[in-house]
Amino acid sequence: MGLLLHMSQTLDSISLNELVEIAAIANNAIAPKLTEMGLTKGQKIKAIFKAPFGDPIAYEINGNIISMRKEEAMQVEVQMA
């Protein structure tokens, strides 16, 4: 059980309408940009719709809709809220 609770996944792989919490952001060139748009550790985030071909994906965070490509969402580690 304990293992399951701590299992983490990245933002690109969560299913629609699943509310998750941001656990960490990979350290690379896009990290400052993700942070500025409000994606910080502990914030709740939810995928609300996807473009055709499943990419990019639109997320709801703090009452905003932010769209990002899969490769960008992959930089965000999340855990179940």
Partner: protein
């Protein structure tokens, strides 16, 4: 005082700018880059100020071209645009994230006014903002609320501008952040600032949710079938306007300039100067203004779609399709608009914030077959493609026309792919984008956009277009002294003397053009174009149609002395069909016609596009490279087609 306007994207910043400055605006570029710089004048009760609008950004840490401009100006007191004070526009309904950039500007020490815009929407979302807490934490800033969409808050802002003062302040977080270089340090600093801002507890009420209604609409508009269908339907309407309805004002402008030109020719004494004015300058200016209806219509629609929030959904559904070609979801509108006319298309590429993606879009856009190619295509197709129906119903002529459009699109995408590998990128392309709420578009904002684009085109690109068209006119209307002898020789000929007066005029014009400087140049370059299947007469038409592609038809009409009336096209086709080469074969054979068609798919042949690319890339390097590249592609493929078919 020099005041700068900053804020996140989608905060209504430009509405505030328009509200404060009205039509007293100037648009230009920031030094060295093609990022729009809008300047305007503000009159307060006490004095006058200059307001500069900066691109919307989320922080001072720069990745894109827009962000680099913002960072450069803010961190270099020697910069000509370094502000003395700042107005910061924040979306009140989205306050905490908006305060990140604000807190950075505050810590840089500028006198600063915080405008909490969209105050009504914050209320609708059930948010209550503790203004006194906000003020206590940023004591040196003035804070006002506004709702610029209905022009609320203007007086409060003007009043606050008069109170600007360089207050002593303690930094909200730190002042060393501007020097941070590494990704990790920048991320950490922003993270700390956001944590601090959230800890202030400025907002009472739960964080607002996106309404189910809006999400439902989003799911339809970005659906893999309905999404593309709806976008296609909208495009169809826009194209209908640009193709069909724009021709009404365009014909009107054309007609008025022809009248103005002949009227002034009648008023002025004959002479070189009067000729320059009536045949060079006036038609040149007309040639600039004739583009205005298409530009105005396209930007009306773009602004409408952008204001409503829909355009970002288009970018969202197109991004994946354009990515393999080194393009971006935002390249779709410029490329598709170029099917009508590359000029507004290229101008609309300015919304692409990544420089590499913008440049590629601009460079490949003229490969899309524009409406000016249609007269050339239809003339040549009816000349050399037989009027037969495949399987009894599929017109071969229609099929060829379709093929020419497809060829242009394929080459645009192929070239984009090539450029993706060749052009070095300054920054990796991101697609982090906010999808703004759906809103009713504000007509005034749309009006400002249209006005601005038209003005920029007329005054920036227009100068170049007028200059080139005067040069082309002079080369086509003047010739070496041998021209006079040739003319009097023509007048001695018996069939000339027996011809009607109108016919004599046509013969005169044909001779004057073929003996002009352009005519001599066309004859001189005949060996170079012979392998493509062209003679010197086609050479002259090619040269003069650099002004605009459709001029090709008019030049041929002049050279073959078929005059200038309504059934010119029919007479021209008959005349061209009779043309024979020295060897007695038809000049306009299938091989020559097909070679010309392919040439016009690829060749730049449009000085207005050249001028606009110069304006949009801020250098002659790219337009000239583009001219040469398109010319080489056109020459080689025309050569190939002719040699295969002949």
């Amino acid at each position: 005082m020099k005041i700068a306007l900053f804020g996140n994207p989608n905060t209504g910043k430009s509405t505030i700018f328009n509200m404060l400055t009205g039509l007293r605006q100037q648009v230009g570029n920031f030094p060295g880059v093609t990022v729009d710089k809008k300047k305007g004048r503000i009159d307060t009760a006490q004095s006058q100020h200059q307001l500069t609008d900066f691109p919307g950004t989320y922080s001072i840490f720069a990745r894109s071209l827009d962000e680099q401009v913002v960072k450069e100006v803010l961190t270099n007191p020697q910069h000509p645009d370094y502000p003395e004070a700042i107005i910061y526009v924040a979306d009140a309904a989205n306050l905490e994230r908006n305060l990140l950039f604000f807190s950075q500007l505050y810590d840089l020490g500028f006198p600063i006014l915080l405008v909490l815009n969209m105050w009504d929407r914050a209320g609708q979302k059930g948010l209550q903002i503790k203004l006194d807490t906000l003020q206590n934490n940023f004591p040196a800033a003035s804070i006002v609320t506004a709702n610029a969409r209905i022009a609320l808050g203007k007086d409060r802002i003007l009043h606050a501008i008069d109170q600007f003062a360089v207050g002593e302040r303690t930094a909200f977080h730190d002042t060393a952040f501007q020097a941070l270089q590494s990704d990790a340090e920048q991320t950490q600093n922003s993270d700390e600032r956001l944590q601090k801002i959230r800890a202030l507890g400025l907002i009472t009420a739960a964080p607002s949710k996106i309404s189910n209604q809006s999400t439902r609409l989003d799911r339809i508009l970005t659906h893999r079938i309905y999404g593309y269908l709806i976008f296609s339907a909208i495009l169809l309407v826009i194209f209908q306007f640009i193709f069909s309805f724009a021709s009404i004002p365009m014909d009107f402008i054309d007609g008025q300039f022809v009248r103005l030109s002949s009227w002034s020719a009648a008023q002025l004494p004959e002479g070189v100067l009067s000729k320059l004015l009536t045949q060079g300058l006036i038609p040149g200016i007309g040639g600039v203004l004739v583009f205005v209806p298409q530009i105005a219509i396209l930007f009306f629609f773009i602004a409408l779609l952008e204001e409503s929030g829909y355009l970002s959904r288009v970018v969202f559904i197109m991004d994946r399709l354009m990515r393999p070609f080194g393009l971006n979801g935002k390249s779709v509108v410029p490329l598709l608009s170029s099917v009508a006319c590359a000029i507004p298309g290229i101008m609309s590429a300015r919304t692409i914030s990544d420089w590499k993606e913008r440049l590629i879009t601009i460079l490949v856009a003229p490969f899309m077959s524009c409406s000016a190619r249609i007269p050339v295509y239809t003339l040549l197709i009816s000349l050399v493609i037989p009027k037969i129906y495949i399987g009894g119903f599929l017109s071969l002529q229609g099929l060829v026309l379709f093929g020419l459009y497809a060829l242009g699109i394929l080459f645009a995408l192929g070239t984009a792919l090539l450029l993706k590998l060749l052009v070095k990128s300054r920054t990796p392309g991101f697609h982090l984008m906010e999808l703004p709420d759906y809103k009713t578009p504000r007509l005034a904002n749309i009006g400002y956009t249209v006005y601005e684009k038209v003005r920029v085109f007329i005054f920036d690109a227009g100068k170049i277009i007028v200059a080139i068209s005067i040069i082309l006119w002079a080369l086509a209307s003047y010739g070496p002294s041998s021209r006079e002898q040739a003319l009097s020789a023509l007048h001695q000929e018996q069939n000339y003397q027996q011809a009607e007066q109108a016919k004599q005029q046509e013969l005169d014009n044909a001779l004057l053009l073929s003996e002009s400087y352009i005519g001599h140049f066309g004859k001189w370059m005949e060996p170079a174009i012979a392998p493509l299947g062209y003679d010197w007469k086609i050479g002259i038409a090619l040269l003069s149609s650099f002004a605009a592609r459709e001029v090709f038809v008019g030049s041929l009409a002049t050279i073959y002395a078929v005059g200038d009336d309504t059934d010119t096209q029919k007479r021209l086709i008959e005349k061209l069909k009779e043309e024979k080469t020295d060897k007695g074969q038809a000049t306009y054979s299938l091989a020559t016609g097909a070679s010309l068609l392919v040439f016009y798919v690829f060749a730049m042949q449009c000085m207005a596009t050249l001028a606009v690319v110069k304006r949009e890339t801020n250098t002659w390097t790219w337009p000239l490279l583009q001219l040469v590249f398109m010319g080489v592609v056109a020459y080689m493929s025309a050569f190939l087609v002719f040699q295969l078919l002949v």
